[in-house]
Protein backbone atom coordinates (compact mmCIF):
# COMPACT_ATOMS: atom_id res chain seq x y z
CA UNK A 1 0.00 0.00 0.00
CA UNK A 2 1.53 3.27 -1.02
CA UNK A 3 1.94 5.87 1.66
CA UNK A 4 0.13 8.46 -0.41
CA UNK A 5 -2.95 6.35 -0.66
CA UNK A 6 -3.35 6.03 3.08
CA UNK A 7 -2.84 9.69 3.75
CA UNK A 8 -5.71 11.79 5.00
CA UNK A 9 -6.32 14.50 2.40
CA UNK A 10 -7.14 17.82 3.99
CA UNK A 11 -8.66 21.11 2.85
CA UNK A 12 -7.91 24.06 5.11
CA UNK A 13 -10.31 27.02 5.10
CA UNK A 14 -9.50 30.23 6.98
CA UNK A 15 -9.43 33.86 5.95
CA UNK A 16 -6.28 34.47 7.94
CA UNK A 17 -3.08 33.51 6.10
CA UNK A 18 -0.94 33.09 9.20
CA UNK A 19 -3.40 30.63 10.64
CA UNK A 20 -3.47 28.64 7.41
CA UNK A 21 0.32 28.64 7.41
CA UNK A 22 0.33 27.34 10.97
CA UNK A 23 -2.04 24.54 10.09
CA UNK A 24 0.10 23.72 7.06
CA UNK A 25 3.26 23.62 9.17
CA UNK A 26 1.66 21.32 11.70
CA UNK A 27 0.27 18.98 9.05
CA UNK A 28 3.53 18.91 7.11
CA UNK A 29 5.26 16.94 9.83
CA UNK A 30 2.57 14.27 9.91
CA UNK A 31 3.30 11.20 7.78
CA UNK A 32 -0.36 10.22 7.58
CA UNK A 33 -1.74 13.57 6.46
CA UNK A 34 -1.42 15.80 3.47
CA UNK A 35 -2.75 19.28 2.85
CA UNK A 36 -4.19 19.30 -0.62
CA UNK A 37 -5.81 22.70 -0.83
CA UNK A 38 -6.55 25.94 0.99
CA UNK A 39 -9.36 28.47 0.79
CA UNK A 40 -9.77 31.90 2.33
CA UNK A 41 -13.56 32.16 2.37
CA UNK A 42 -16.68 30.05 2.17
CA UNK A 43 -17.21 30.44 -1.53
CA UNK A 44 -13.67 29.30 -2.31
CA UNK A 45 -14.11 26.45 0.13
CA UNK A 46 -17.11 25.11 -1.77
CA UNK A 47 -15.21 25.38 -5.07
CA UNK A 48 -12.11 23.70 -3.68
CA UNK A 49 -14.21 20.96 -2.15
CA UNK A 50 -15.83 20.20 -5.50
CA UNK A 51 -12.43 19.97 -7.18
CA UNK A 52 -10.54 17.97 -4.58
CA UNK A 53 -13.13 16.05 -2.54
CA UNK A 54 -10.94 16.11 0.58
CA UNK A 55 -11.28 13.53 3.33
CA UNK A 56 -11.32 16.22 5.97
CA UNK A 57 -12.18 19.92 5.74
CA UNK A 58 -10.99 22.34 8.42
CA UNK A 59 -13.46 25.21 8.46
CA UNK A 60 -13.25 28.65 10.05
CA UNK A 61 -16.62 30.22 10.86
CA UNK A 62 -16.18 33.98 10.56
CA UNK A 63 -15.07 34.69 7.03
CA UNK A 64 -15.78 37.36 4.45
CA UNK A 65 -18.05 36.76 1.44
CA UNK A 66 -19.48 33.47 2.65
CA UNK A 67 -19.20 32.36 6.24
CA UNK A 68 -18.32 28.90 7.45
CA UNK A 69 -21.83 27.81 8.35
CA UNK A 70 -23.19 28.66 4.89
CA UNK A 71 -20.24 26.95 3.24
CA UNK A 72 -20.81 23.82 5.31
CA UNK A 73 -24.48 23.76 4.38
CA UNK A 74 -23.59 24.10 0.72
CA UNK A 75 -20.97 21.37 0.91
CA UNK A 76 -23.05 18.95 2.97
CA UNK A 77 -26.02 19.54 0.68
CA UNK A 78 -23.98 18.28 -2.24
CA UNK A 79 -21.83 15.77 -0.40
CA UNK A 80 -23.59 14.48 2.70
CA UNK A 81 -20.59 12.32 3.58
CA UNK A 82 -18.26 15.33 3.85
CA UNK A 83 -16.28 15.37 7.07
CA UNK A 84 -15.87 18.88 8.32
CA UNK A 85 -14.16 20.09 11.47
CA UNK A 86 -14.94 23.61 12.65
CA UNK A 87 -12.09 25.75 13.96
CA UNK A 88 -13.12 28.86 15.77
CA UNK A 89 -12.13 31.24 18.54
CA UNK A 90 -15.13 31.15 20.83
CA UNK A 91 -17.18 28.35 22.32
CA UNK A 92 -20.68 29.83 22.29
CA UNK A 93 -23.33 27.14 22.47
CA UNK A 94 -25.56 28.74 19.85
CA UNK A 95 -22.72 29.01 17.39
CA UNK A 96 -21.79 25.38 18.06
CA UNK A 97 -25.37 24.27 17.51
CA UNK A 98 -25.55 26.16 14.26
CA UNK A 99 -22.33 24.53 13.08
CA UNK A 100 -23.49 21.06 14.10
CA UNK A 101 -26.80 21.55 12.30
CA UNK A 102 -24.90 22.62 9.22
CA UNK A 103 -23.07 19.30 9.27
CA UNK A 104 -19.89 19.73 11.31
CA UNK A 105 -18.42 16.50 12.68
CA UNK A 106 -15.93 18.13 14.98
CA UNK A 107 -15.66 21.43 16.79
CA UNK A 108 -12.30 22.80 17.89
CA UNK A 109 -11.27 26.02 19.56
CA UNK A 110 -8.35 27.74 17.91
CA UNK A 111 -6.68 28.16 21.27
CA UNK A 112 -6.48 24.38 21.61
CA UNK A 113 -5.45 23.54 18.06
CA UNK A 114 -1.85 22.64 18.67
CA UNK A 115 -2.81 19.87 21.06
CA UNK A 116 -6.09 18.72 19.63
CA UNK A 117 -5.99 19.24 15.89
CA UNK A 118 -4.11 16.15 14.75
CA UNK A 119 -5.94 13.76 17.03
CA UNK A 120 -9.29 15.24 16.02
CA UNK A 121 -8.49 14.90 12.33
CA UNK A 122 -7.68 11.22 12.83
CA UNK A 123 -10.80 10.57 14.91
CA UNK A 124 -13.17 12.29 12.53
CA UNK A 125 -11.51 10.60 9.60
CA UNK A 126 -12.17 7.30 11.35
CA UNK A 127 -15.85 8.20 11.39
CA UNK A 128 -16.22 9.54 14.91
CA UNK A 129 -17.52 12.87 16.08
CA UNK A 130 -15.43 15.00 18.32
CA UNK A 131 -16.05 17.95 20.50
CA UNK A 132 -13.66 19.37 23.05
CA UNK A 133 -14.97 19.27 26.65
CA UNK A 134 -15.08 23.04 26.95
CA UNK A 135 -17.51 23.19 24.04
CA UNK A 136 -19.54 20.20 25.19
CA UNK A 137 -20.03 21.73 28.64
CA UNK A 138 -21.18 24.96 27.11
CA UNK A 139 -23.63 23.06 24.98
CA UNK A 140 -25.02 21.01 27.85
CA UNK A 141 -25.44 24.06 30.05
CA UNK A 142 -27.97 25.65 27.75
CA UNK A 143 -29.59 22.53 26.30
CA UNK A 144 -32.90 23.25 28.01
CA UNK A 145 -32.92 26.99 27.35
CA UNK A 146 -35.50 28.69 25.19
CA UNK A 147 -33.89 29.72 21.93
CA UNK A 148 -34.23 33.31 20.76
CA UNK A 149 -36.48 33.88 17.78
CA UNK A 150 -35.06 35.30 14.57
CA UNK A 151 -36.59 38.69 15.38
CA UNK A 152 -35.17 38.66 18.88
CA UNK A 153 -31.71 37.90 17.53
CA UNK A 154 -32.08 40.84 15.15
CA UNK A 155 -33.04 43.09 18.04
CA UNK A 156 -30.13 41.84 20.13
CA UNK A 157 -27.75 42.52 17.26
CA UNK A 158 -29.05 46.07 16.96
CA UNK A 159 -28.69 46.57 20.70
CA UNK A 160 -25.10 45.40 20.47
CA UNK A 161 -24.57 48.03 17.79
CA UNK A 162 -25.35 50.64 20.40
CA UNK A 163 -28.82 51.49 19.08
CA UNK A 164 -31.50 52.95 21.29
CA UNK A 165 -35.01 51.47 21.29
CA UNK A 166 -36.24 54.24 19.06
CA UNK A 167 -33.59 53.51 16.43
CA UNK A 168 -34.18 49.79 16.62
CA UNK A 169 -37.89 50.37 16.11
CA UNK A 170 -37.18 52.55 13.08
CA UNK A 171 -34.76 50.06 11.53
CA UNK A 172 -37.10 47.12 11.92
CA UNK A 173 -40.21 49.17 11.09
CA UNK A 174 -41.95 48.19 14.30
CA UNK A 175 -43.17 50.25 17.23
CA UNK A 176 -41.05 51.09 20.21
CA UNK A 177 -43.48 49.13 22.38
CA UNK A 178 -42.86 46.01 20.33
CA UNK A 179 -39.13 46.52 20.67
CA UNK A 180 -39.55 46.77 24.43
CA UNK A 181 -41.52 43.52 24.37
CA UNK A 182 -38.77 41.78 22.41
CA UNK A 183 -36.16 43.05 24.81
CA UNK A 184 -38.15 41.80 27.76
CA UNK A 185 -38.27 38.34 26.15
CA UNK A 186 -34.57 38.45 25.34
CA UNK A 187 -33.68 39.32 28.92
CA UNK A 188 -35.89 36.53 30.25
CA UNK A 189 -34.59 33.91 27.84
CA UNK A 190 -30.95 34.76 28.38
CA UNK A 191 -31.32 35.37 32.10
CA UNK A 192 -29.80 38.81 31.64
CA UNK A 193 -30.12 41.74 34.03
CA UNK A 194 -30.21 44.38 31.35
CA UNK A 195 -29.40 45.20 27.74
CA UNK A 196 -25.66 45.26 28.09
CA UNK A 197 -25.66 42.06 30.04
CA UNK A 198 -27.77 40.50 27.28
CA UNK A 199 -25.21 41.59 24.69
CA UNK A 200 -22.40 40.08 26.75
CA UNK A 201 -24.26 36.79 27.02
CA UNK A 202 -25.18 36.94 23.34
CA UNK A 203 -21.53 37.32 22.36
CA UNK A 204 -20.39 34.62 24.73
CA UNK A 205 -22.95 32.14 23.48
CA UNK A 206 -22.35 32.96 19.86
CA UNK A 207 -25.87 34.26 19.27
CA UNK A 208 -24.33 37.37 17.80
CA UNK A 209 -20.83 37.94 16.47
CA UNK A 210 -18.29 40.54 17.39
Amino acid sequence: MSADHARIRILSVDDHPLLREGVAALLASQPDMTLIAEASNGREAVEQFRIHRPDITLMDLQMPEMNGVDAMMAICGEYPAARIIVLTTYAGDVQVLRALKAGARGYLLKGLLRKELLETIRLVHAGQKRMVPEVATELAEHAADDALSVREIEVLRLISGGNANKEIAAQLSITEETVKGHIKNILAKLGANDRTHAVTIGLKRGIIDL
Binding site: D14, H16, P17, L18, L19, R20, E21, G22, V23, A25, L26, A28, S29, T89, Y90, K110, G111, L112, L113, R114, K115, L117, S160, G161, G162, A164, K166, E176, N193, D194, R195, T196, H197, V199, T200, L203, K204, L210
Partner: protein, 349 residues
Protein backbone atom coordinates in the same frame (compact mmCIF):
# COMPACT_ATOMS: atom_id res chain seq x y z
CA UNK B 1 -42.07 71.68 42.66
CA UNK B 2 -39.28 71.43 40.18
CA UNK B 3 -36.89 74.34 40.33
CA UNK B 4 -38.46 75.74 43.47
CA UNK B 5 -35.07 77.06 44.51
CA UNK B 6 -34.69 78.92 41.23
CA UNK B 7 -38.12 80.46 41.66
CA UNK B 8 -37.39 81.50 45.21
CA UNK B 9 -34.05 83.10 44.33
CA UNK B 10 -35.70 84.77 41.36
CA UNK B 11 -38.26 86.48 43.56
CA UNK B 12 -35.61 87.58 46.03
CA UNK B 13 -33.45 88.83 43.17
CA UNK B 14 -36.29 90.89 41.73
CA UNK B 15 -37.05 92.40 45.13
CA UNK B 16 -33.42 93.31 45.74
CA UNK B 17 -33.03 94.86 42.31
CA UNK B 18 -36.20 96.84 42.72
CA UNK B 19 -35.14 98.10 46.10
CA UNK B 20 -31.63 99.01 44.97
CA UNK B 21 -32.88 100.62 41.78
CA UNK B 22 -35.33 102.82 43.66
CA UNK B 23 -32.62 103.90 46.10
CA UNK B 24 -30.11 104.55 43.33
CA UNK B 25 -32.60 106.08 40.97
CA UNK B 26 -31.66 103.83 38.09
CA UNK B 27 -32.99 104.35 34.61
CA UNK B 28 -35.84 102.04 33.54
CA UNK B 29 -33.56 100.59 30.81
CA UNK B 30 -30.94 99.49 33.31
CA UNK B 31 -33.56 98.03 35.61
CA UNK B 32 -35.16 96.06 32.82
CA UNK B 33 -31.76 94.58 31.89
CA UNK B 34 -31.24 93.45 35.47
CA UNK B 35 -34.76 92.02 35.56
CA UNK B 36 -34.01 90.26 32.31
CA UNK B 37 -31.11 88.40 33.86
CA UNK B 38 -33.30 87.20 36.69
CA UNK B 39 -36.09 86.09 34.40
CA UNK B 40 -33.73 84.16 32.13
CA UNK B 41 -32.09 82.56 35.16
CA UNK B 42 -35.42 81.36 36.52
CA UNK B 43 -36.73 80.25 33.14
CA UNK B 44 -33.68 78.08 32.54
CA UNK B 45 -33.85 76.47 35.93
CA UNK B 46 -37.49 76.23 36.85
CA UNK B 47 -40.68 74.98 35.26
CA UNK B 48 -43.03 76.75 32.93
CA UNK B 49 -45.38 78.08 35.59
CA UNK B 50 -42.54 79.54 37.69
CA UNK B 51 -41.04 81.22 34.63
CA UNK B 52 -44.35 82.80 33.69
CA UNK B 53 -44.94 83.92 37.26
CA UNK B 54 -41.52 85.53 37.55
CA UNK B 55 -41.91 87.20 34.14
CA UNK B 56 -45.25 88.69 35.20
CA UNK B 57 -43.86 89.92 38.49
CA UNK B 58 -40.97 91.53 36.63
CA UNK B 59 -43.36 93.19 34.16
CA UNK B 60 -45.51 94.42 36.99
CA UNK B 61 -42.51 95.84 38.86
CA UNK B 62 -41.24 97.51 35.75
CA UNK B 63 -44.60 99.13 35.09
CA UNK B 64 -45.39 100.06 38.64
CA UNK B 65 -42.08 101.52 39.70
CA UNK B 66 -40.15 102.60 36.67
CA UNK B 67 -42.17 103.34 33.58
CA UNK B 68 -44.13 106.48 33.45
CA UNK B 69 -47.59 105.39 32.55
CA UNK B 70 -48.84 108.81 31.73
CA UNK B 71 -47.06 111.62 30.02
CA UNK B 72 -47.02 115.05 31.60
CA UNK B 73 -50.03 116.07 29.52
CA UNK B 74 -52.06 113.31 31.10
CA UNK B 75 -52.36 111.05 28.02
CA UNK B 76 -51.42 107.39 28.35
CA UNK B 77 -47.80 106.84 27.37
CA UNK B 78 -47.81 104.30 24.49
CA UNK B 79 -44.23 103.33 25.27
CA UNK B 80 -45.17 101.38 28.41
CA UNK B 81 -46.91 98.66 26.45
CA UNK B 82 -44.11 98.51 23.89
CA UNK B 83 -41.54 98.26 26.65
CA UNK B 84 -43.46 95.46 28.34
CA UNK B 85 -43.82 93.44 25.18
CA UNK B 86 -40.18 94.02 24.21
CA UNK B 87 -39.09 92.93 27.64
CA UNK B 88 -41.04 89.68 27.50
CA UNK B 89 -39.92 88.82 23.99
CA UNK B 90 -36.29 89.48 24.81
CA UNK B 91 -36.44 87.29 27.90
CA UNK B 92 -38.13 84.57 25.94
CA UNK B 93 -35.66 84.63 23.04
CA UNK B 94 -32.58 84.64 25.25
CA UNK B 95 -33.92 81.77 27.32
CA UNK B 96 -34.71 79.81 24.22
CA UNK B 97 -31.28 80.35 22.75
CA UNK B 98 -29.43 79.39 25.90
CA UNK B 99 -31.60 76.30 26.30
CA UNK B 100 -30.92 75.38 22.70
CA UNK B 101 -27.15 75.71 23.02
CA UNK B 102 -27.25 73.68 26.20
CA UNK B 103 -29.24 70.98 24.52
CA UNK B 104 -26.87 70.86 21.58
CA UNK B 105 -23.93 70.43 23.93
CA UNK B 106 -25.72 67.57 25.62
CA UNK B 107 -26.55 65.98 22.29
CA UNK B 108 -22.90 66.25 21.35
CA UNK B 109 -21.86 64.47 24.54
CA UNK B 110 -24.30 61.66 23.91
CA UNK B 111 -23.01 61.41 20.36
CA UNK B 112 -19.52 61.14 21.74
CA UNK B 113 -20.58 58.15 23.85
CA UNK B 114 -21.88 56.47 20.74
CA UNK B 115 -18.64 57.17 18.95
CA UNK B 116 -16.60 55.72 21.75
CA UNK B 117 -18.70 52.59 21.84
CA UNK B 118 -18.35 52.19 18.09
CA UNK B 119 -14.62 52.78 18.37
CA UNK B 120 -14.28 50.14 21.03
CA UNK B 121 -16.20 47.67 18.93
CA UNK B 122 -13.96 48.41 16.01
CA UNK B 123 -10.84 47.87 18.11
CA UNK B 124 -12.20 44.59 19.43
CA UNK B 125 -12.98 43.37 15.95
CA UNK B 126 -9.63 44.47 14.63
CA UNK B 127 -7.74 42.73 17.43
CA UNK B 128 -9.79 39.63 16.94
CA UNK B 129 -9.27 39.53 13.20
CA UNK B 130 -5.57 40.28 13.22
CA UNK B 131 -3.54 39.88 16.37
CA UNK B 132 -5.45 36.98 17.84
CA UNK B 133 -5.55 34.95 14.61
CA UNK B 134 -1.86 35.60 14.01
CA UNK B 135 -0.92 34.41 17.46
CA UNK B 136 -3.02 31.31 17.08
CA UNK B 137 -1.35 30.62 13.75
CA UNK B 138 2.08 31.17 15.24
CA UNK B 139 1.32 28.72 18.02
CA UNK B 140 0.77 26.04 15.39
CA UNK B 141 4.14 26.91 13.85
CA UNK B 142 5.79 26.57 17.23
CA UNK B 143 4.07 23.27 17.80
CA UNK B 144 5.38 22.03 14.47
CA UNK B 145 8.89 22.99 15.57
CA UNK B 146 8.31 21.32 18.91
CA UNK B 147 7.33 18.13 17.09
CA UNK B 148 10.65 18.18 15.27
CA UNK B 149 12.67 18.35 18.47
CA UNK B 150 13.98 15.10 19.92
CA UNK B 151 12.71 14.28 23.39
CA UNK B 152 14.78 16.00 26.04
CA UNK B 153 15.24 19.13 28.03
CA UNK B 154 14.79 21.64 25.25
CA UNK B 155 11.59 20.00 24.10
CA UNK B 156 10.29 20.10 27.64
CA UNK B 157 11.24 23.73 28.04
CA UNK B 158 9.56 24.68 24.79
CA UNK B 159 6.47 22.74 25.80
CA UNK B 160 6.32 24.74 29.03
CA UNK B 161 6.66 28.01 27.21
CA UNK B 162 3.95 27.03 24.77
CA UNK B 163 1.59 26.23 27.61
CA UNK B 164 2.21 29.63 29.05
CA UNK B 165 1.61 31.20 25.69
CA UNK B 166 -1.69 29.31 25.42
CA UNK B 167 -2.81 30.90 28.65
CA UNK B 168 -1.71 34.33 27.51
CA UNK B 169 -3.68 33.96 24.31
CA UNK B 170 -6.79 32.87 26.19
CA UNK B 171 -6.43 35.93 28.40
CA UNK B 172 -6.07 38.10 25.33
CA UNK B 173 -9.09 36.50 23.75
CA UNK B 174 -11.23 37.13 26.81
CA UNK B 175 -9.95 40.68 27.09
CA UNK B 176 -11.00 41.31 23.52
CA UNK B 177 -14.43 39.92 24.23
CA UNK B 178 -14.70 42.09 27.30
CA UNK B 179 -13.69 45.15 25.37
CA UNK B 180 -16.88 44.66 23.49
CA UNK B 181 -19.08 44.37 26.47
CA UNK B 182 -18.96 46.75 29.33
CA UNK B 183 -16.93 46.34 32.51
CA UNK B 184 -19.99 46.34 34.63
CA UNK B 185 -22.21 43.39 34.02
CA UNK B 186 -25.24 45.05 35.43
CA UNK B 187 -26.95 48.24 34.54
CA UNK B 188 -27.83 48.74 38.15
CA UNK B 189 -25.21 51.22 39.22
CA UNK B 190 -25.96 50.65 42.89
CA UNK B 191 -25.45 46.94 42.49
CA UNK B 192 -22.19 47.44 40.68
CA UNK B 193 -20.95 49.87 43.32
CA UNK B 194 -22.03 47.53 46.11
CA UNK B 195 -20.19 44.65 44.47
CA UNK B 196 -17.18 46.90 44.13
CA UNK B 197 -17.24 47.75 47.81
CA UNK B 198 -17.52 44.10 48.73
CA UNK B 199 -14.60 43.27 46.53
CA UNK B 200 -12.46 46.03 48.00
CA UNK B 201 -13.47 45.24 51.56
CA UNK B 202 -12.58 41.60 50.95
CA UNK B 203 -9.81 39.74 52.75
CA UNK B 204 -6.75 41.81 53.40
CA UNK B 205 -3.82 41.17 55.64
CA UNK B 206 -5.74 43.63 57.78
CA UNK B 207 -4.24 44.61 61.06
CA UNK B 208 -7.39 46.72 61.34
CA UNK B 209 -10.93 45.58 60.64
CA UNK B 210 -12.27 46.53 57.22
CA UNK B 211 -14.51 49.55 56.99
CA UNK B 212 -18.27 49.12 57.00
CA UNK B 213 -19.71 49.94 53.61
CA UNK B 214 -23.21 51.11 52.78
CA UNK B 215 -24.84 51.99 49.47
CA UNK B 216 -28.05 53.96 49.30
CA UNK B 217 -30.15 54.91 46.30
CA UNK B 218 -32.53 57.81 45.98
CA UNK B 219 -34.99 58.15 43.15
CA UNK B 220 -35.97 55.62 40.53
CA UNK B 221 -32.93 53.96 38.92
CA UNK B 222 -32.74 54.67 35.22
CA UNK B 223 -30.90 53.23 32.25
CA UNK B 224 -27.54 54.78 31.57
CA UNK B 225 -25.51 54.66 28.41
CA UNK B 226 -22.96 51.82 28.66
CA UNK B 227 -20.00 54.12 28.07
CA UNK B 228 -21.21 56.60 30.63
CA UNK B 229 -21.92 53.86 33.12
CA UNK B 230 -18.45 52.49 32.57
CA UNK B 231 -16.89 55.83 33.30
CA UNK B 232 -19.03 56.44 36.38
CA UNK B 233 -18.17 52.97 37.57
CA UNK B 234 -14.46 53.59 37.08
CA UNK B 235 -14.59 56.90 38.91
CA UNK B 236 -16.48 55.20 41.73
CA UNK B 237 -13.92 52.43 41.78
CA UNK B 238 -11.08 54.89 42.10
CA UNK B 239 -12.81 56.81 44.87
CA UNK B 240 -13.72 53.65 46.74
CA UNK B 241 -10.24 52.25 46.35
CA UNK B 242 -8.83 55.39 47.93
CA UNK B 243 -11.33 55.15 50.74
CA UNK B 244 -10.63 51.50 51.42
CA UNK B 245 -6.88 51.46 50.87
CA UNK B 246 -5.57 54.80 51.99
CA UNK B 247 -8.12 56.50 54.16
CA UNK B 248 -8.09 54.07 57.10
CA UNK B 249 -11.77 54.76 57.38
CA UNK B 250 -14.16 52.87 59.62
CA UNK B 251 -17.24 53.89 57.66
CA UNK B 252 -17.62 54.34 53.92
CA UNK B 253 -20.84 55.39 52.25
CA UNK B 254 -21.95 55.66 48.67
CA UNK B 255 -25.11 57.59 47.76
CA UNK B 256 -26.60 57.48 44.31
CA UNK B 257 -29.33 59.94 43.45
CA UNK B 258 -31.29 59.58 40.25
CA UNK B 259 -32.73 63.06 39.92
CA UNK B 260 -34.64 64.37 36.95
CA UNK B 261 -32.07 67.08 36.36
CA UNK B 262 -29.05 65.44 37.85
CA UNK B 263 -27.50 62.06 38.43
CA UNK B 264 -25.36 62.25 41.50
CA UNK B 265 -22.88 59.84 43.00
CA UNK B 266 -21.41 60.66 46.36
CA UNK B 267 -18.76 58.67 48.15
CA UNK B 268 -17.87 59.57 51.72
CA UNK B 269 -15.49 58.19 54.29
CA UNK B 270 -14.58 59.12 57.82
CA UNK B 271 -10.89 58.35 57.38
CA UNK B 272 -7.76 60.38 57.79
CA UNK B 273 -8.49 62.63 54.84
CA UNK B 274 -6.28 64.03 52.14
CA UNK B 275 -4.26 67.20 52.39
CA UNK B 276 -6.27 69.83 50.45
CA UNK B 277 -3.10 70.92 48.69
CA UNK B 278 -2.67 67.44 47.29
CA UNK B 279 -6.30 67.38 46.38
CA UNK B 280 -5.86 70.37 44.12
CA UNK B 281 -2.62 69.31 42.58
CA UNK B 282 -3.33 65.60 42.35
CA UNK B 283 0.42 65.11 42.61
CA UNK B 284 2.04 62.37 40.58
CA UNK B 285 -1.18 60.62 39.85
CA UNK B 286 -1.61 60.10 43.58
CA UNK B 287 -4.91 58.50 44.43
CA UNK B 288 -5.70 58.46 40.76
CA UNK B 289 -7.18 61.91 41.12
CA UNK B 290 -6.15 63.27 37.72
CA UNK B 291 -7.60 60.19 36.06
CA UNK B 292 -10.89 60.70 37.83
CA UNK B 293 -11.06 64.34 36.84
CA UNK B 294 -10.19 63.54 33.26
CA UNK B 295 -12.86 60.89 33.07
CA UNK B 296 -15.43 63.19 34.62
CA UNK B 297 -14.61 65.91 32.14
CA UNK B 298 -14.94 63.49 29.25
CA UNK B 299 -18.49 62.61 30.15
CA UNK B 300 -19.47 66.19 30.88
CA UNK B 301 -19.71 65.60 34.60
CA UNK B 302 -18.74 67.76 37.50
CA UNK B 303 -16.36 66.17 40.01
CA UNK B 304 -15.85 67.76 43.39
CA UNK B 305 -13.83 66.60 46.33
CA UNK B 306 -13.71 67.84 49.86
CA UNK B 307 -11.21 66.67 52.36
CA UNK B 308 -9.33 67.80 55.34
CA UNK B 309 -6.69 66.00 57.33
CA UNK B 310 -8.48 64.00 59.97
CA UNK B 311 -11.94 64.83 58.72
CA UNK B 312 -12.51 62.25 56.05
CA UNK B 313 -13.05 62.69 52.34
CA UNK B 314 -16.08 63.25 50.20
CA UNK B 315 -16.20 62.82 46.45
CA UNK B 316 -19.19 64.01 44.49
CA UNK B 317 -19.86 63.34 40.84
CA UNK B 318 -22.72 65.16 39.17
CA UNK B 319 -23.95 64.48 35.66
CA UNK B 320 -26.70 66.53 34.03
CA UNK B 321 -29.83 64.39 33.73
CA UNK B 322 -30.21 64.76 29.95
CA UNK B 323 -26.65 63.52 29.43
CA UNK B 324 -26.95 60.73 31.96
CA UNK B 325 -30.23 59.34 30.73
CA UNK B 326 -29.89 60.33 27.10
CA UNK B 327 -33.19 62.21 27.14
CA UNK B 328 -34.03 65.73 26.11
CA UNK B 329 -34.18 68.30 28.89
CA UNK B 330 -37.18 68.28 31.15
CA UNK B 331 -40.58 69.64 30.31
CA UNK B 332 -41.86 73.08 30.90
CA UNK B 333 -39.40 75.31 29.20
CA UNK B 334 -40.61 77.74 26.60
CA UNK B 335 -42.26 75.11 24.45
CA UNK B 336 -41.86 76.96 21.17
CA UNK B 337 -38.13 76.44 21.28
CA UNK B 338 -38.30 72.75 21.79
CA UNK B 339 -38.20 70.42 18.87
CA UNK B 340 -41.70 69.57 17.74
CA UNK B 341 -41.12 65.88 17.27
CA UNK B 342 -40.55 64.49 20.66
CA UNK B 343 -41.38 61.18 22.23
CA UNK B 344 -43.87 61.36 25.04
CA UNK B 345 -41.92 61.49 28.24
CA UNK B 346 -42.61 59.16 31.05
CA UNK B 347 -43.78 60.90 34.12
CA UNK B 348 -41.16 59.97 36.59
CA UNK B 349 -39.03 62.03 38.89
Amino acid sequence: MRGAAHFFFGIIGLALITFAALRLNLQPGAVSLLYLIIVVFVSLGAGFVSSIAVSLIAVFGLNYFFIQRYSSSGARNPLDIVATVAFLITAWVITGMVARVRKLTEAQLILRFEERLAERTRIARELHDTLLQSFQGLMLHFQAVNDLLPPGKSKEALENVLNRADQAIVEGRDAIQNLRSSTTNTNELAQAVAALGEELAGPRDGERPPATFRVSVEGIPRDLHPILRDDIYRIAREALRNAFRHAQASKIEADITYGERLLRLRIRDDGKGIDPKLLDAGRDGHWGLPGMRERAQQIGAQLDMWSEVGAGTEVELRIPGPVAYGTSPGRGRFPLFRKKKEAPQEANG
